[in-house]
């Protein structure tokens, strides 16, 4: 097994990413898609900054929303001051304000959290998260209490003719900062500090014996990460024009952990995928079903158990097979597995939605699904969905075994070829 950085493909990847950012609103037209894309951009930045801790530095933080949230609070005040004419700063530069605020709080809290690694770090980060959340509610003067602080991003002179009124302008602002942030964070992985953060993650003891103070490495890594978190907080402030206690809450901190893990902690680009999926779950699915959080949780658990490297690992695993021209042999097993998975999913969705119908007091117990209606108080739909789920799971098992066998055989042959 060899490890080689993708040098050649790098230009293609970054060029492609820039192109995708530029083209996305045209590929997915419509106001709803635009809202979603904008939120995805913000979340990508947030998740990437989180992975500077978890993936690159081995720091499991339960309080990362502190940095994005406080960055957002400072930004909202800056925006309101610009509106009041106290000083002038073009709106596109506001993310810098959020970033510097995030960095400042990173210096402050990070000094405490990074004293330790591992579980202790996780617990301190949780404690600081709770503390900041409590403070936000305790000082309504600055933080606006439960309701938060609202603002108006259309302030001052239009910047190069941009008012940031229309959503599309906000999207491109987010996209630009997201791209810059991505490039910046990637560049950081290529520096001595970035590499030693990996070393400290893998073997902190040895790092100390080659001259590195592991605490210092963790601290610097966290401070840099909180800068990008602050930028994402500022972007969310510009996008929603409101910042509230929710921005620093444990729910946010948990959300970014979920998103990052789903995407793939071991890979730089993993959190990008995770953020996209996560926002899709939140924004798109929550419009359809009240059970979206349950589906998200279930998805998360499946990833943790079956693909701890996240979606990115599932994708990257395919490349050697594709390169060897063997992917065709897997196409059919994959298709069968996907089909079986869909059947199981349909049964599961039916059952979950019926449970929600029963628990929704006063609301209809009739479930509308694919143009059909089912009454959750009668037995037949339960039996039917249960049977579909069981059949789906059984065939999924068989299909997965087939995929596994084919996969194993191909891997063995590829290894034999590599050795020869």
């Amino acid at each position: 097994m060899t490890y080689q950085p993708l040098n050649l493909g790098r230009w293609i990847i970054w060029g492609g990413a820039a192109l995708l950012f530029a083209a996305a609103p045209h590929l997915f037209p419509g106001g709803f898609a635009l809202t979603m894309l904008t939120q995805m951009g913000v979340m990508i930045l947030f998740a990437l900054s989180y992975n500077m801790l978890l993936g690159q530095g081995g720091m499991l933080s339960f309080g990362h929303a502190v940095y994005s949230g406080l960055g957002a609070y400072v930004t909202v005040h800056a925006l309101n001051q610009i509106g009041a004419g106290t000083f002038y700063l073009p709106v596109p530069l506001l993310p810098l304000v959020g970033g510097i605020a995030g960095l400042a709080f990173g210096l402050l809290f990070g000094y405490v959290t990074t004293k330790r690694a591992g579980t202790t770090f996780a617990l301190i980060s949780l404690g600081i998260g709770e503390m900041v959340f409590a403070c936000v509610l305790m000082f309504p003067g600055f933080f606006g209490g439960e309701a938060g602080i609202s603002t108006n991003r259309m302030v001052g002179q239009p910047f190069l003719g941009l008012t940031f009124g229309p959503g599309i302008q906000v999207y491109y602002l987010v996209a630009l900062w997201c791209f810059l942030g991505m490039a910046g964070m990637f560049a950081l992985t290529q520096t001595p500090l970035g590499r030693m953060a990996n070393a400290v993650r893998d073997n902190p003891e040895r790092a100390e014996f080659v001259g590195y103070n592991t605490r210092h490495v963790r601290f610097l890594q966290l401070v840099l990460s909180s800068f990008f978190a602050g930028v994402s907080g500022a972007l969310s402030c510009i996008n929603f024009e409101i910042v509230s206690a929710e921005n620093v809450s444990a729910i946010r901190s948990g959300g970014v952990l979920l998103a990052t893990f789903i995407g793939g902690v071991p890979f730089f680009f993993g959190p990008v995928i995770g953020a996209i999926v996560f926002v899709f779950f939140i924004v798109a699915l929550s419009g359809f079903t009240k059970a979206w959080l349950l589906y998200l949780g279930l998805f998360f658990v499946l990833i943790v158990v079956y693909a701890p490297g996240g979606i990115a690992s599932l994708i990257l695993m395919q490349f050697p097979v594709i390169r060897a021209g063997r992917w065709r042999e897997l196409a059919l097993p994959y298709a069968l597995a996907a089909l079986a998975g869909l059947v199981a999913l349909a049964g599961l969705i039916g059952l979950v939605e019926m449970v929600y119908r029963l628990s929704d007091q006063g609301v209809s117990t009739v479930l509308q699904l694919l143009g059909m209606s089912f009454d959750a108080r009668s037995a037949p739909p339960w039996i039917a969905f249960g049977a579909i789920l069981a059949a789906g799971l059984a065939s999924l098992r068989a299909a997965a075994r087939r995929v596994g066998e084919r996969w194993g055989a191909i891997q063995l042959e590829l290894q034999a070829q590599a050795a020869a």
């Binding site: 001595p192 030693m196 990996n198 893998d202 040895r206 014996f209 001259g211």
Partner: protein, 259 residues
């Protein structure tokens, strides 16, 4: 002349258990010094005390005449002392090249830099290449350290230790678990990489010890029994009684059980 390492009446106990009982020792600049002794004598503990892994219970430790007692491992490392571990202690999820580079970065002056691109640091790359060449892992540069063979991992352990060019090198059983040919290779490796440096090594292979060492210290139950040239140690009756004799007996018993 100043000693490279000086121990002054060093004691170590874990809780109520005393492990090191007042060891005093001077290791000269540029010498190759071996520490031998039976299992559990406290050899690794002595290394852990010198390199800052454990806190000293009493006594002082000096490096090039400067007091380093109870400094942090990274502080001691920055003063020019580097050590390897008896149980391989490398970065398993990194490539051979990256492992070696980890040992190079600090001494090369890049410290916590987040404004240098590590791939563009020619001095670092050159040094890492040179070290990989020396430890015979140049062809394995992109292999993940965790997937190397045992002997290769031991070589990498030495590589990471010497990569930074420390003036004092501590090697804890560098040949443990190796075959005869592998051992011979490692001995040559150690000889070449410690040219012009001070070497302290813990070693069980007597062939290696008497081949490499300028002087030998014998540690038995946390006490220094003797220090001297290989000839002096071989001729020392107390050492023969306490250690070499016991070893011979052990060897004899092992041979007997084979038959």
């Amino acid at each position: 002349m100043k000693s490279a390492i000086e121990l002054r009446d060093v004691h170590k106990s874990f809780g109520t258990t005393k492990i090191i009982f007042g060891v005093s020792l001077q290791i000269r600049e540029g010498e190759r010094h071996a520490i031998i002794g039976p299992n559990g004598a406290g050899k690794s503990t002595l290394f852990n005390l010198i390199s800052g892994r454990y806190e000293v219970s009493a006594g002082r430790i000096l490096l090039h005449g400067a007091d380093i007692t109870n400094l942090q491992p990274f502080e001691i490392n920055r003063k020019g002392l580097s050590r390897s571990f008896q149980v391989t202690n490398i970065f398993h999820n990194m490539s051979v090249y990256e492992n070696v580079r980890c040992g190079v970065l600090w001494p090369a002056g890049y410290r916590y830099s987040f404004w240098h691109r590590v791939g563009g640091l020619r001095d670092v790359r050159q040094r890492a290449e040179e070290v990989m060449e020396r430890i015979g892992l140049a062809r394995r540069r992109n292999t993940l350290a965790g997937t190397l063979t045992y002997a290769e991992q031991r070589a990498l352990e030495i590589g990471v230790t010497i990569a930074g060019g420390a003036s004092v090198v501590l090697l804890d059983e560098p040949t443990a678990g190796m075959s005869r040919t592998e051992t011979a290779q490692v001995v040559e490796l150690i000889r070449s990489v410690t040219e012009g440096r001070t070497l302290v090594m813990v070693e069980h292979h007597m062939g290696v010890v008497f081949n490499l060492a300028d002087r030998i210290s014998v540690l038995v139950y946390g006490e220094l029994l003797a220090t001297g040239t290989p000839e002096e140690i071989r001729a020392n009756p107390a050492v023969q009684e306490a250690y070499l004799g016991a070893l011979h007996k052990e060897a004899a018993r092992a041979d007997g059980s084979h038959a």
